[in-house]
Point group: C2
Chain length 212, copies 2
Amino acid sequence: MNAVALIDKDRRTQAERTALSDARMLDAAVELICAKGTIKTTLKEVGVVAGYSRGLASHRFGTKDQLFTFIVRSVGELWLKELSLAVKEEVGVNAIGAAIDAHQAFITQGANNIRAFYILWFNSIGPDRGLREVVANIHLRRQKDVESWIQKGIANKELCATIDYQGAAQNFCAAIIGIVYQWLADPENVERIKELHTILKAQTTLALGKTH
Amino acid sequence: MNAVALIDKDRRTQAERTALSDARMLDAAVELICAKGTIKTTLKEVGVVAGYSRGLASHRFGTKDQLFTFIVRSVGELWLKELSLAVKEEVGVNAIGAAIDAHQAFITQGANNIRAFYILWFNSIGPDRGLREVVANIHLRRQKDVESWIQKGIANKELCATIDYQGAAQNFCAAIIGIVYQWLADPENVERIKELHTILKAQTTLALGKTH
DNA sequence: TTTATTATTACTTGTTGCGAGCAAGTAATA
DNA sequence: TATTACTTGCTCGCAACAAGTAATAATAAA
C-alpha cells in the first residue's frame, strides 16, 4: 500500500504510521529545501509543515544531516530505477545515449524532489556531513554503470578495445555534474540544458569512436 | 604595504588594522572551512582562531553568508588575475588550452584557499544566500571570457564562423565545474584530475574544429 | 614641534532569540 | 499490558545585535 492510500484511513498499523510520516516529512523537506535552501530549512519546520509536532523530524532522523541523507537515498533510488528502465538491455554508445535522454527528461520535468536531490548533492561537497559519503557512493555507482556499458560495448566489438573506459566514464560523469550545475544555476533556460545534453551525447559518441 | 609586513608593527593606521584583521580572518575561515566544512564553521571561531574576540567576525561581516561572499570574492579575483596572466594575448583554441593548464595548476597546487573557494562555490547552489549571486557572476564572467576567446579565434580565421560560441563556452564551463566536482569528491587522485583536464582540452579542440 | 583634548574608527563584551538535539513524557497500536 | 509512534520540556551553542572599551586621527594650545 502506498503513502497516498494511507491518508484516508483512521486506523493504521505502526509500520503504516511511520511510512506515512516519513513520506509527509520527505515532501515537506523537499519543498522547504527548494524554497529556502538547506541552511534555512529547520527540522522543526519540517515536522510542522508535514502536519506533526516540532520535534518529530528530530526524533525520527536524529540530525539534519541524516534527514538529508534520507532524502538523497530516496530520490537516488528512484533515479536509478528510472535509469535502468530507460537503458534496459542497451550497451555501449546506445546505453549512454539512452541514459543522457533519461537524465534530460528527469531534470527538465522539473519535479521538486530532483531539484532538492541535486541541491543536497552539491551542498554535500566539503569535509562535513555523512551525506558526503552517500553522494560519493551514488556517484561511484553511476560511474561503474557507465564503465560496464562501455566494457560491454567493447565485448560486443562495437567499441575499440583500447578505450580507457575508466577515464571515459569519469569524464562522462563529470560532464553530467557540470550540466546539472548549469541547470541549478539557471533553471529557466531549459533549451540550453537540452542542448548541453545533446552536445555531451555527440562528444561521447565521438570520443568512444565506434568501430563501425 | 602587504598584510605580512603589518604583523611586526606596534602601531598601525586604522586602515592597516582592518586590512590585517581581514587577512587573518580570511585565513582562519579558509582553514576552518577546509577542516570542518561550512556548516560547522562558526563566526565565533573565525574571530578567535584569527586572534581576535569571538564577536569580530560577526561585527565585520555581519552574517556567515557575507563572510563567505568575502572569501569567494577575494579568491575569485586572485584566480581571474592568474588566468589573464596565463592566457595573455592568446585567442581561440590556444587561449582555452592555456586556461585549462592554468586551472589544472591552480587546483593541483593544493592551496587551501582554492579548496575553500570551490567548497563555497558548490555550497552556494540552492535558493538561499547572497553568495549565490556572487558565484553566478564569476561563473558568467568565465563564460564571457571563453566566448570572447572563441570569437577572436573566428575573427582570426583560425576557427570556423559557424561555431555556436555560446553553446561551446557553456559546455566548456560546465565541463570545468564537473572536473572540479571530481576533484573535491576525491582530492587524492591528482593523476585523474590532470587526465580529465587533458581530455577536456582534446575534446574542446575537436569540437571547435580548427580550420587549419 | 610637542602635547593635551576631542572625534572617529576598530574592536570587545553583554544580551536575546532560535534551532539542534536529547530526555522524559503521552497517545496510539499490538 | 507491552510496544511503538509521537509530543513536550529542556539545555546548550551560535548568530545577530547593542552597548561598551580601546585604539588611532584630528585639532588646538603650548
